[in-house]
């Protein structure tokens, strides 16, 4: 898009053509009030406060698109009158409970009321009874609601669930006589306000969504608040600590709101998690899974000495997972270099190997996509990931692309997902067979590849065949007809019948035999019959493409070849490829640590069960700080090194203390930030120099981006190899939508017992009910577990979670692949 110059209040502002005036103004530090607009979502036009004058005409800056040479005035007497009247009407019947309201001064209604100088009320209308609603973790008080519809907008355009909508309020109609005396926009806004209130889209009593809570974050008043936070604390008493989401690899910016626990207990406590909702949505685990800290009273010197002794004498392997910071990963790597410990980390090892193979064909050290690119694209493929559960933020980006760019998408996964289906009517879910991922990668190359290497295009050609197909075709034919006509003779005034020949175009359906190119990959990938037509429709006017790949691929028996195929996709198609690291810092660990496939005889576990265990969950031999008690950096899926800060203090030992006792020297863990390996793309930057914020124009000033390097590529890929077909019942290794690890499960708002999560279809087929106990077994293991119904799940594949440490589920998945075949029977 071309660059234009827009003149706002006499200031020349550069912008892209078609950008909204409101966003341009914000990026240039010009204030335009707006209640209902959310960046990255479609304009709602509910509040009308963003009224401006463009070239002498009234317009709403939230949906006015920039054109070159536009003259915008954001404030004049007429606009001020409108805005004041609008705020007066918003204040109508608004309960005067600001003193106890949970918004406690962070209220946009309050801010704008003061900004517009509303000191008296000139309107009145009868109020309607609006009782409060309890929607699980979300509490809605309609009497405080100003129906700006931000919650509805964010749920639809960002989260993709469209769980909320406006419903009739049943209020009195605005007196028509006021039309002449009330400013025009204020009157229109009032009319709409009297008719609507927020309700649940499905019409149910309780909110049947994933309860991500983004609606509570965007609410400008105290109408939507987290149930847990209600009347707990005033916002101004809370200290905001910027951090990054510790539970999943989006590592979104979040703020821990911290205050002393109570009058009697001055220990700090996290009261809630806040976000910068205009730029970074949070998922449920980030928002509600904040109190997973490990509380210890003092340094346990005996346990520390025991661990040091073990490390010096017995330990030959350190096993850990990727819920650690980059700095800790570097400490472990340094210990390996010094003492030769083997480093075992399953998820980072698989991801690292996958990335290596990917680089071999792509020619770049890392993938080229990120969430912003997904949001900006208009054709997105999600492949090999249970998207909504594995990485909700990738799901939000996908939905945002579909909603905002009139995009289309394909979602390949053996497990059906109702939420993904709801994103848009332009997304097709393809529930393919387990193991077909390799064929799908080839299919994407076949459909979108340009200048493919010869051996690949030759191989792809083998799937194509020409078949004759009879299709009904519309044929236009000109036929001549003799029509009898009654004509009145002018002279004799007599009616006469004459015959006239008329030619006419008639369409006719005929059977025609045509030659069709048949692609055998369609069948292998399990595509629907009309896929070709769907794809053609989807690809119409599409120019930016994104592909999201996930954890199924890294643990796939054919993962190395799939990685190479994805490398080719990045190189030879228009797709930017985003690979979702399976855990928070999987990418960072895979870059920093030199990991081993196999462990040795005596293992020290860090947050993993082993012979001697360091644990931030509080169940090991030595307590470690949890991620909200540490400072350090994560490497996010956006290839960005982002800082996180200490929200709560930790009184025990941390990994750096152990490293120091073993001869490494650093006062703080963050002393290692500047030592992160530059040959892997990290920068030599001090931790304290890293920023963590978004600016007014939405630029992400968070840490720094990894440098992606060019590597040598060879473009050699293997042919499809059929994977053993899984028979019997199939289970999948995945966590339910708001769980990621034992840490999320430790948080009191998320805590639950692990179960086998199944769909309604599964229950019907097996004749079971939710809550029943079932026995799952295969040759490796057996487990008796309760079943829980996942309303969003479709299909017969059930999934087992990893967040519950009481369930040993890994044993079913011996070779690491996320799918396993088992038998499931009802147990008593």
């Amino acid at each position: 898009m071309s660059e234009v110059i827009v003149n706002i209040n006499g200031k020349e502002c550069k912008a892209k053509e078609g950008e909204y005036i409101l966003n341009i103004a914000r990026a240039n530090d010009i204030f335009i009030p707006a209640l209902c607009y959310l960046t990255n979502c479609s304009p709602t036009l509910a509040c009308r406060l963003c009224l401006v004058e463009i070239d002498g005409k009234r317009a709403y800056s939230c949906n006015a698109k920039a054109k070159d040479g536009m003259n915008v005035i954001t404030d004049n007497e007429e606009i001020q009158k409108e805005r004041r009247a609008i705020m007066e009407i918003y204040d109508l019947n608004h309960p005067l409970e600001c003193g106890v309201c949970d918004q406690s001064g962070e209220c946009e209604l309050q801010n704008y009321t003061l900004e517009m100088g509303v000191d008296s009320q000139s309107y009145c209308i009868k109020d309607v009874h609006r009782p409060a609603r309890h929607w699980g973790r979300i509490h809605y008080d309609p009497s405080l609601c100003i129906v700006c519809e931000r919650c509805v907008t964010v749920c639809k355009d960002m989260i993709g669930e469209a769980a909320l909508k406006t419903v009739p309020r049943g209020g009195d109609l605005v007196d028509k006589e006021l039309k002449d005396t009330t400013p025009k926009d204020a009157y229109a806004m009032w009319n709409k306000l009297q008719k609507s209130i927020i309700g649940i889209a499905s019409g149910e009593e309780s909110l049947d969504c994933t309860q991500c809570g983004e609606c509570t974050a965007v609410c400008p008043v105290g109408a939507l608040v987290g149930t847990n936070f209600q009347y707990k604390s005033n916002a101004w008493e809370l200290k905001k600590i910027p951090a990054s989401n510790p539970h999943s690899s989006d590592c979104s910016l979040l703020y821990y709101d911290v205050k002393h626990t109570s009058i009697k207990d001055s220990q700090e406590k996290i009261y809630r998690v806040n976000s910068d909702f205009n730029y970074a949505p949070l998922h449920a685990a980030a928002r509600y899974g904040y109190d997973f800290e490990n509380v210890v009273e003092k340094k346990d010197e005996i346990a520390f000495a025991k661990v040091i002794d073990a490390l010096q004498t017995k330990v030959d392997t350190i096993k850990f997972n990727s819920f650690i910071t980059n700095e800790e990963a570097l400490i472990l790597q340094k210990l390996k270099e010094k003492y030769g410990y083997k480093l075992v980390n399953e998820d980072a090892y698989a991801f690292g190997e996958f990335l290596n193979s990917f680089s071999q064909t792509s020619g770049t050290s890392l993938y080229n996509g990120d969430l912003k690119k997904v949001r900006d694209s208009n054709f997105v493929i999600s492949f090999g990931t249970h998207l909504k559960n594995d990485s909700p933020n990738s799901g939000y980006a996908l939905n945002n692309a579909l909603a905002m760019n009139k995009g289309a998408g394909l979602y390949f996964h053996p497990l059906g997902d109702k939420v993904v289906q709801n994103y848009s009517k332009n997304i097709t879910q393809i529930s393919h067979k387990v193991g077909a991922e390799e064929a799908i990668a080839y299919l994407i190359l076949d459909l979108f590849g340009k200048d493919l290497p010869l051996h690949v295009s030759e191989y792809l050609q083998t799937f194509h065949s020409t078949v004759k197909k009879t299709v009904k075709q519309e044929v236009k034919e000109t036929i001549k007809e003799i029509v009898k006509k009654v004509v009145v003779d002018e002279e004799s005034k007599e009616e006469k019948e004459i015959e006239e020949e008329v030619s006419k175009v008639v369409s006719k359906m005929v059977d025609k035999e045509i030659e069709v190119d048949q692609n055998a990959l369609f069948q292998i990938a399990g595509l629907p019959e009309d896929f070709q037509e769907i794809l053609e429709k989807y690809l119409d006017k599409k120019d930016t493409f994104s592909l999201i790949g996930g954890e199924d691929l890294y643990t796939h028996p054919r993962s190395q070849n799939i990685a190479k195929l994805l490398g080719l996709i990045q190189k030879h198609t228009d797709f930017s490829v985003l690979l979702i690291p399976s855990k928070t810092n999987t990418l960072g660990v895979s870059l920093i640590c030199d990991l081993d496939a196999q462990g040795g005889k005596y293992t020290l576990g860090y947050n993993e069960k082993a012979d001697i265990t360091l644990s931030a969950l509080g169940n090991g031999d030595l307590d470690m700080p949890a991620l909200n008690q540490q400072e350090g950096t994560f490497t996010s899926m956006n290839k960005r090194v982002v800082p996180t800060n200490v929200a709560l203090s930790f009184k025990g030992y941390c990994l750096n203390d152990i490293a120091n006792a073993l001869g490494l020297e650093a006062e703080f863990t963050i002393d290692y930030t500047k030592e992160l390996p530059t040959d892997k793309g990290f920068e030599q930057k001090e931790f304290d120099s890293l920023e963590n914020e978004f600016d007014n124009s939405g630029n992400e000033n968070r840490g720094y981006s990894l440098h992606v390097k060019d590597t040598t590529s060879d473009e050699v890929v293997e042919n499809i190899e059929t994977v053993d077909v899984l028979d019997g019942d199939i289970i999948y290794l995945s966590n339910p939508v708001h769980q990621f690890s034992p840490f999320t499960n430790k948080a009191h708002q998320l805590n639950e017992a692990g179960a086998l999560y199944v769909s309604t279809e599964f229950l019907e087929a097996k004749g079971l009910n939710a809550g029943d106990m079932v026995k799952i077994y295969n040759q490796n293991a057996s487990l008796v577990v309760a079943i829980k119904l996942d309303q969003m799940l479709e299909g017969k594949i059930a999934y087992l979670p990893t967040f519950d440490t009481k369930l040993d589920v890994k044993q079913f998945f011996a070779d690491g692949f996320r799918f396993a075949s088992v038998s499931i029977e009802g147990a008593k």
């Binding site: 600001c98 003193g99 106890v100 406690s104 000191d119 008296s120 009320q121 000139s122 309107y123 009145c124 209308i125 009868k126 409060a132 009195d172 209600q230 009347y231 707990k232 604390s233 005033n234 101004w236 008493e237 002393h260 109570s262 009058i263 009697k264």
Partner: protein, 205 residues
């Protein structure tokens, strides 16, 4: 304008200058002054006044504290009280937290929660009187006239925390029912013409 007022540099308007007698100029004059003052007997006038006050009965100016106490002004700012609503006996405090915020000694803290009726409940309220400077800001900012100062200035105790908890400050129910709860006319109280500042809001009922 007249610059007259600027020219008068030696005095502030309204002051009256006392014209004392002239100082003695030499030793002879000083001697004469000593003799004059001695013979005049002014010394005995003073001695007599002291003697008279000493022997008059019931003429002590000493307040016999603690048996006797001086009255204090109604706006005196001593230890805080939490008042109750006149009609319902409930606590006036709504837990808005403004006192906690405005307190410049940072000595007020409160714990709130959602009670069973869906209202905000103040479970605990405390003022650290070791830190409080009795500035009166909390009483001034309170929108409900809930926290006020009282005249109780006697706060010696064996425990630092005494007087500072909610149960110490809240008007006891028996006192309240005996109608002994006093309003505080000092900081935070409404002015007599407060009504005249209120603008009327139209009503649709």
């Amino acid at each position: 304008m007249s610059l007259e007022q600027f020219k008068k540099r030696d005095a502030t308007p309204g002051y009256i200058y006392f014209q004392a007698e002239e100082k003695p100029k030499n030793a002879w004059e000083a001697f004469k002054r000593v003799v004059r003052i001695s013979i005049k007997g002014e010394l005995f006038v003073g001695l007599w006044i002291v003697l008279r006050e000493m022997i008059t009965k019931g003429n002590s100016h000493t307040v016999q504290y603690p048996a006797e106490k001086l009255p204090i002004g109604p706006r005196y700012r001593a230890i805080h009280k939490l008042l109750r609503l006149l009609e319902s006996e409930n606590e006036r405090c709504i837990g808005c937290g403004l006192c906690e915020k405005i307190c410049i000694a940072n000595c007020i803290r409160m714990d709130t929660r959602l009670d069973e009726n869906g209202r905000k409940q103040i479970t605990e309220y405390s003022i650290n009187f070791g830190r409080c400077i009795f500035c009166g800001y909390c009483a001034e900012v309170c929108p409900e006239l809930a926290i006020v100062h009282s005249g109780d200035y006697e706060n010696a105790s064996e425990q630092r925390a005494h007087y500072g908890l909610k149960e110490d400050m809240l008007t006891p129910l028996d006192t309240f029912r005996a109608k002994e709860q006093k309003e505080f006319p000092g900081f935070g109280a409404l002015s007599e013409n407060a009504d005249s500042f209120v603008k009327k809001t139209p009503l649709a009922y």
